[in-house]
Subunit: 158 residues, 2 copies
């Protein structure tokens, strides 16, 4: 897609996350798109992302929910302030807690869709609900509490 993902607006020095950093050469490079009131991402698990053979690894599902939820919070925060993504100052959330309910096994060989919505946005904190779909069926449901990255954790720009 030529469209800009939410992660494309992360500052470079904060764009090395293994799950969604666009500058992490070895990472999953999840890309989430803000569409109206929700964020949507697609991801195709690699052949080795197995749990029981034939099914996708639950830790990968948790990772997708984690990264997608931080992106969802960032996009919703720009929207709440009436700002375009990419305007300063940037929003970058990290995870305080992650809860995932695995509703049904996730089959391998399918493009997964992750959909996230902000349930609550207050101060520097957000609660995001993200669901993972395979073949249009919801397979996992996540609730993630995210907070804006504290200033002292922002690496100095090189």
């Amino acid at each position: 897609m030529d469209e800009m993902a939410i992660q494309d607006f992360y500052p470079d020095e904060l764009n090395y996350c293994y799950g969604c950093g666009q500058l992490n050469a070895d990472g999953l490079k999840l890309r989430s798109f803000w569409i109206g009131e929700e964020a949507v991402a697609q991801f195709t698990p690699r052949s080795y992302h197995t749990a029981i053979p034939g099914y996708v690894y639950g830790g990968l599902i948790a990772s997708l929910i984690d990264c997608h939820s931080t992106a969802t919070a960032a996009a919703a925060s720009y929207q709440a302030e009436g700002r375009e993504m990419g305007t300063e100052p940037p929003f970058r959330f990290v995870t305080a807690s992650l809860h995932v309910d695995y509703l049904r096994p996730v089959p391998m060989g399918v493009v997964l869709e992750i959909r996230g919505r902000v349930k609550e946005l207050k101060g520097r904190k957000a609660v995001v609900q993200s669901e993972v779909f395979a073949n249009d069926e919801v397979c996992a449901r996540g609730e993630v509490v995210v907070v804006q990255l504290p200033e002292h954790m922002v690496p100095k720009k090189s």
Copy 2:
């Protein structure tokens, strides 16, 4: 270590998990050891397992907690039945729900220790609490509900 890990006793056809399958060549190959009443594992994140630079990716932490907790449940189940690990029938748990509280950022470049204990074991279900330590300080705390793999999901032996 020459010692046998809990995962060494998983049946081969169920030992391909990306997080802890000893037969998944591309996976993390987590190894958990049963010591008395708890399971202990060590894992050194790879250089690319970053979140914000300098800190470990939360999705990896969730994955370690996930796999370590299923192993903890398996080992505790053998113990509850008074059986040695590796005796038939084998125990193999999968995750029903995963909750992780990220208590403090996890520094890169440190061997992490994961400690798991069964909080509840009843029928085919267990509730496991696993904590992740860096430099002897607890950084993340997980509670994982696991269930024995349903028979219909066991792949046929080749």
